[in-house]
Symmetry: D4
Subunit: 251 residues, 8 copies
């Protein structure tokens, strides 16, 4: 961004850009204002193949319009998170959409060929954590990562997890997803030597307090290399995992 | 207790006990009132060799007096918990006391020969949990159980725990003690097939919230056979473990 | 488990087991992977007659399939917890199931003849706690314990509890279930000389905060021998009670 | 107060009181402003023999000055709560004071002869609750009630409480003081047929969360006739108990 | 209760009561067990005209049966709290019932002629608190107190409250009911010289946290003579207010 | 109010006002009691053009009646907050009402011509915060302020906010509305040199805990000039903003 | 700030400013970096006479250095908050400082002659709130406002507050400071017709939870025109009050 | 780890390793048990140059012994976190140690030459956050990363942060450290296109609740690519940042 300002200033000095135009450019560049939202075109330039739309609270018409702006600006894949099934139905009438009901994710366009350092492992403690896991996995895939799914490998049956040591030891990033006591993140963090992104889920009852128990557990993980995102935030974990998985591209 | 009332009533019918004596007996039987406390002599009849005194908030003089009442009533071992070192020094002037500084436990009398179904395993996640663990272990020993200590076997280095599978699989009861994320209880609960008593500790910082994180974690354990006592309550866990370890005596 | 590894290693040395077979065995032994879940066959070998399926979040078809795998592997009783009535109806079409609506428990197969050290007493503070109590009681019965039910004996009318002193004094384990102030666990813990498993319930309103009040109360019980499971976790209490009630079998 | 305004207005009409005097009277009547505090002389007219000074945060000099204003206005007893021992020493140099160290209460003047409907029973769960109990008991006594102390009668040893049924059944008000699980209030509330004022204390550790556990417990009491004051608020309970104990005086 | 035991023991001595009969009597006296509930007949002997049934979680059939047991035992008024309108409709088919929809209270029998020391004032901060207030008011009336209602007198418009100083100053007990910031209890507590029972309500939004804000506010009231019951517990406040309002009867 | 009392007292002295009339006047002046509510006519005299009715929990009939009392007393605009769409429909049959569905606000009468020091800027972090923002904006407009809306300018895309520096720097008051992490208030507080009223919203999920996260964030803002109102309290912010925006009128 | 950028851009176009100089200017203008801190010189231009230094965590030497930079840049008054007495002693050796111990505030330079719309009233519930109140009052005074102090006017003795109606009704802004139940803000908010800034304090014990009770109370105030700052944040309230008190200057 | 097991099994088959030796190897390989701790030598093989010792709760003697075991096993740098100054003094007598007092970190051995993808930026909101920041920075440096420090760039003075856009845009990983409202993470997350590790600190007072406010804020960050570690966990952030900064080495 800094570079752009410098170029703009040089344009002003050269006379090729007026002062007011420059001021305007600094202000309005990074997004397209389509009335009900400000579509961010900067980010798509920065983060690989896909652009993400947060679907909750948007009407199908709004999502269609935003998607069209993105596709018109060269976006190949549009990922829509927290998308209700009825909205997906509506959107389908205007644009071809691939809808994943349990993850509540819709994808418009092609999922890119996987790239990156290695593979992203998505592990869950139980079967009830799968919707969050699929949100994470589909996000990472849509952004260009290969994903390995290890579901229902919670620590109460340690053999289930230990039978997948190969996948865990060879991952470039691991997303550990669990509700209730959230111990999965610590155990995986102790086994693996790559970054572990912990996702607490609201799965559980009673003293799980809607995910608080798992959240605190994961924040207190005594394993190094573990960090945490919000409760049920599969998207955030998938996005960050893909970002880390593409670290070498930058150097 | 019921039986006693019946006997008393029969005495009343027989005329060997007067009505007022009976009424008095029903009221005053189970404890000796020594002014500042009501010493419970019933419990010592029920629970094996040792009687327990909660040391916090009692003066050394009071503890000496209570201990003497207990010893005079046939108690062989008196266990004093939450005992400050200075108090222990004072008590030593009056009675021979074996003081364990890290556990803050004092023992007057002989530790009994271990009995019970099997062995009580006391496991901790880290070295900082050892004071709580020693409170649990010394309590169980003073009450008549054999104790195996497995310290610093937290889940972030799973191999440390797995190298002690023998002890875990052969325990009659396991006390799992951990602060921070408290995952130890779930992992042990998944490996063992005996009752697991989980003790959250206040070890940690930040989002451990003085043991709340470990407490919630353990309450949400998805392993069966796990129950929880109060934060830092080593005594309660040792007491219950010994009780379970002597279950067969009852039948 | 350790013994099994040793045997396997001896097989490898003898040549009767190939290295890859051994590796595979270590990894895959304890469960059957049926796609959507990993059915644990180890546990059924360890814990008496019944195996437990957590019904919440599973389709009737999945429950039927898991149950069949279990029955095919020699299981006599399958206990399904947190089972919705509509799911029970569906399952009934495929397998004979005994459904208990208030406890939301389904049982496939025969309830075993009671065994164990003695009787498990299940006590509740009020009538609203009965669904949780039935979950506990049916679990303990399905696993092989005799159960005595003492419902609506809350401490606000102490005579109701005291009129059942016989049952309380002669129990091998007591499950104390209460919402609101949760005082039942402490009072029973003070009367009984056996392990007491406290189950806080979400019964109440206002400052009961969905069971938090009863949970904290029970964790702070000043009676010895009391431990706590998660809010509304009748199953966990029943499972642990049965485990303790069968302690002598082990020695 | 209303009556006073009416009289004042009649005085204004009669000309015996000027408008400005009346305005001033309405504003300044109820307290004496001594610079650092506004001493309330109204209250002493309303509530029997003693006036109360909250000692925390006041210098000994300020307390002496306030006490003198009160004594000069006809107060016979001045009760000073939350009074540090060093402050008591300082005050003693100026005024004769009876200081109760554990309760942190100082009394200047004579404790009145007890009056009221009956007796106020002050009961505690343990010996650590005694300082709060003494604050309650001394307050009620200084305000004119007869007090019966029942200390260390917690529910974990129910016989200790049941041996005092006479006192409980014949009380006019009961103050039930307990930390940890706070069950005492419910049990007493179920036994007694008079108002029960529950005082949670900060006694305990871990999940007692500085009295929160006892507070929630007491608020959720399923016994009727129980109300609650702030954690460790012995004064508030003693004040209210005395007020209720003098109800008949009003009619 | 103590007296009864003594009489029973004298009967045993005289031979007019057998030992087993006595034991049974001690156990079973205070309630009638009608299967699904233990109806407490003791309490009706103790607390004036009405007996109370907690309606939540009971079927209409159960309520009818309990009510009949009570009426058959001489009860004149039966108060049913937390009663759903549909249940009231069902009950009406069996027994004449006076149902108050906003308070969710049903009354079977006649409301007694008011007695007691004076009047119970029920005040609310807003109009949304009225259902809780009506629960309190109807309870106090059904138990035999005269009730004065002061609704919508919250502290944000102080003149509304001050215009009712007469009622406040002449009350024997005041029930102060408020949600949101719950300041009403403190202001009334400062004005009145009688016991104030504070009832926090769950009225509000956001940081009212379902009544927590009002609850904490009321517990911290700096006015003397204020005590608190559970959030939305109109019944508890009405019951206690009536009890205090009948204090002089006892002496 | 003080002045009025003085005048009244002078009337009493002069004989032009009787004592009882004066007493009555003091009591009843500031509101009209229409049975179910006490309509405050004082406030309308104090705060510009509009009077506000809190619609939640009131029937359409009650709202109509209150509105008529206000209009009959000279009110030009009546603002009804928290008004359900069905209620608005009902009210429309009796009175012309302008209903804003997302803000749940109804306006009867004309919106006044804007006055005040300058403009009130209403900014939101995201599009989901718009309902709260509209409640704030419409309130400020109905009370007489000019409002500038800056929606969807959250800090995660800082350029969106920075492109509106002009509006921010020239505002007289800014209302910063955000859920989730609530950082908008701090960033605007650091940029602007006018009072900033922060409104946390319940927008978010997981660890947003219904607005708690944003609330704490805003309370801890390290920018000076920021204060906070309740979660989702758009009305309160709009009311206060308008009040500040009319400060100069007073001097 | 925008204007400055525009001027800079015009300078670039004119050739009077080089591109790199402009870039540097944009970056470095608003503060002086003195190694351990970035001294903000912008703010002093915006907010009247005084500049504020947050003293906590800074050494006396650092404070002296920052103060000198400010004074050298034309600042007339430097206000240092949260300043320990020992630090004040050290600073006094280098610069003349006026230290207010209870408020922990130091002032270097002259307090300006009061200006602004009217007077800022600072009111407290009790005497223990005075340190926070003095922080607020001294801040507002140092920034150029006239302050009226009304201390110890808590709602439990309403007459104390009502005797100051004159000051309350004529204030331009009121700062309401209270711990415990925090009701003062609501009562003042209902009486006054100017903005009320509520400051919860950590004064209290037990269920005041270090100011949480007062904080929630104030956030839920049902009086309009009330907003809230952080617990014990006297400075923030004084700063905002002064800002509002100078609103008319801006127009 | 899997590979090692396979090799071991092949050794067993070949006869070069006995069964018992293999069993022992599997158990004891990864750590050295030195009595009071189990020193993990595995991890040093995995994570670059330095090994980390958690200093809290360990005696200087224990730290010296652990450090010697590590150095004897080829470790070049030993990083000791949470090290008290007195302990550092003691250790210095036995081993040359470089102690950083504010970060409470000691380093034995040489800090390695920086390697990795790029630079780790460590940014703080205020000067009080610097101790946590130094813990993060020194950890990352000791493990082999180049670190850029941006301290005191909190969002309340946005220009301070924006003047460092160059560093932010060119970082490979950013550690955003802030207390109070914790908004720094979101703002940086919105500006940068690399992983952002957010560290909440316990800096603040009142409603910061020891870091809870910043923690919740950061978990709710609406910027993508942000994850969170425990409050004050500078070490965890530095460790993870270094891990991500060395991602390309792995591929």
């Amino acid at each position: 961004m800094n570079t752009n300002i410098k170029k703009l200033l040089e344009g002003v000095r050269d006379g090729s850009v007026s002062v007011d135009e420059a001021l305007l450019a600094i202000k309005t560049r990074p997004f397209v204002d389509i009335g009900f939202a400000k579509v961010d075109l900067h980010r798509s330039a920065r983060q690989g193949a896909a652009e993400v739309v947060y679907g909750a609270g948007k009407t199908p018409e709004q999502i269609v319009e935003i998607s069209r702006v993105l596709l018109d600006n060269g976006q190949q894949t549009v990922l829509i998170t927290r998308l209700a099934p009825e909205s997906a139905e509506e959107i389908r009438k205007a644009l071809p959409i691939d809808y994943h009901a349990s993850a509540r994710i819709g994808i418009i366009g092609e999922t890119p060929v996987p790239s990156g350092i290695g593979r992203v492992v998505v592990a869950t403690g139980g079967t009830s954590d799968i919707p969050v896991a699929e949100e994470a996995a589909l996000t990472a895939e849509a952004l260009g990562s290969e994903v390995v799914r290890l579901y229902d490998v919670g620590v109460a049956g340690l053999h289930r997890l230990l039978s997948h040591l190969d996948e865990i030891m060879s991952a470039s990033v691991i997303i550990a997803i669990a509700g209730m006591e959230g111990a999965l993140a610590s155990v995986i963090g102790g086994l693996a030597d790559c970054p572990v992104i912990a996702v607490p889920t609201s799965v559980g009852y009673g003293a799980s307090f809607e995910g608080l128990s798992a959240l605190l557990s994961m924040l207190n993980s005594c394993a190094s290399g573990v960090s945490v995102v919000n409760i049920d935030n599969g998207f955030g974990a998938g996005y960050l995992a893909n970002m880390i998985n593409h670290m070498e591209v930058k150097a």
